[in-house]
Amino acid sequence: MKIALTYVVLLALLIGAVGLALLVGHGSLADPVLRSTLLGLRATRVGAALLAGAALATGGAVVQGVFRDPLVSPSILGTTAGASLGGQLAMLALVSGSPLASVAVSAEMVLPLGCLLGAGLSLTIVLTFCRERTGTLTLILTGFILSSLFLALSSFITSLAQDSWDMSRAVVSFTLGGVGGVSTRQLLAVLPLVGIGIVASWLWSGTLDLLLSGEEEATSLGVEVGRARRWAVTWVAVLAAAAIAVGGNVGFVGLIVPHTLRPLVGVRHRRLIPACALLGGAFLVACDIIARVFPSRSELPLGVITGIIGAPVFLVLLARSQREVSHG
């Protein structure tokens, strides 16, 4: 009953956030000339925020299950930094007029493709190290090293981008996160990735539940732990790439959304994952509303808002879980 009610509330939150996001923002819907254009633009933004939020929160639930640690986020695997670097390289190629950027795909698809390739590259490296008898510590260390490497390269690209005002603006905007410039085609390209990532993660729910017993016990119960981990890492990489392709670097969603929902829907992934998709989507749509209506000279970056909201929320959740541990 409590869980059903939670789902109803989550659905209501999502519908409310989407409705509000369509109604508010610059420009008046009362103008019949502008109405359809404004609604179209806002709908694309809402769709991007929805997909990115759902993808990041689901990825967070999966990665927290794999590592048996509610305090990790999808970025721990290095695939997020890989996708981000891929996106930046794609932008660099696009602005510098590199033939690579225009050979096979249209300009607007270069960024999502770059994110996918970046995530794919880091996934390949992670999977190379994530063999049958590799422990989670190796996985964490590999992710940490990859993240550090890709962040260093991203910083290098950001410094290179200073030569061009347009380029530096685009790179900084991408780094800080935002769903403002997403096109319908980009959204449609990312939609199946998010769908596949969420459904696949949900289908692996039972295995993720067993991984909560640790590697040895899960193995003794019949789980091919190495294989399960490799697939879970793959779904997280797909979700991270999709989220970054339409939302840029947005932090904390994958960390706080699953953490918030566990006391409400429980730790079973079959129930947690759909709830994460709903709340993650609603949360990022709500953050995007704040980004648009906050009185400032230019639009607030989405990553800044999720950080400002996410960090204190995370600290509260952390304090609460610490209190539960100390009180038994």
């Binding site: 289908l203 039972g206 539940d209 067993l210 640790g214 003794s220 119960l221 019949g222």
Partner: protein
Amino acid sequence: MADRACIEAQGLTVQRGNHVLLNEISFSLGAGQVVALLGPNGAGKSTLLKTLAGLLPFSGELRLDGREASQLDRQERARLVAYVPQHSALDAALPVRDVVAHGRFAYRDVWGRPDQRDDAAIERAMELTDTRRLAGRSFSRLSYGERRLVLLARALATEARVLLLDEPTAALDVTHALGLLHLLRDLASRGALVMVALHQLNEAAQASDQALLLASGHLVSAGPAAEVISAEPVRRVYGVEIVPAAQFGFRIPAGKDSSP
């Protein structure tokens, strides 16, 4: 008493780097009995149980229920051998019934749907371990003793012929320890091979049919429990004397429910 061989080990050796944890262990055990695995700390009891459960790489020959262990896939092995560790890594707020249902993972189809046989096995396992009363509670909120029973129920839900338990009575009060040993005997009488690592020799003498005595990774003695837990092997391995008549002991009163 002993059925056809459930576990046959020949020259079983486990190494970690240059350190030999188990050295050329050979034994054969049939179904329908409780086998105590004895030895001082560091003798290799947990290593042997983990090896039999397929958690450690080994050299030598190992046959489970007549089949070469290396030929079994992970799920086949889980249906054949159930393992209850001394310390479980599980500390999640999963409902108890879900934890027991994890014992059915190796039977699930690709969609993970339980069927009637799964439900029956789960109910039976919970009934045998008297954990039905805990079904709706969160595993992370259970006491240590209750957790051990739930983990045993999870192992029983696998319906495996071989049950491996690593020091199941450690940290249990005398009532629960006696109840648990009684349950293990009951499971053996229903046809299971129950292999249980124990520290307390008096518990082992009372509860087991056969015993394997390990020391520093070697199998020192194997055979009927009364022979293995006798003056000479015990003095040799533990360096202590057996007191023939214990001044006092414990048992479950006749007629009292022995559920742990």
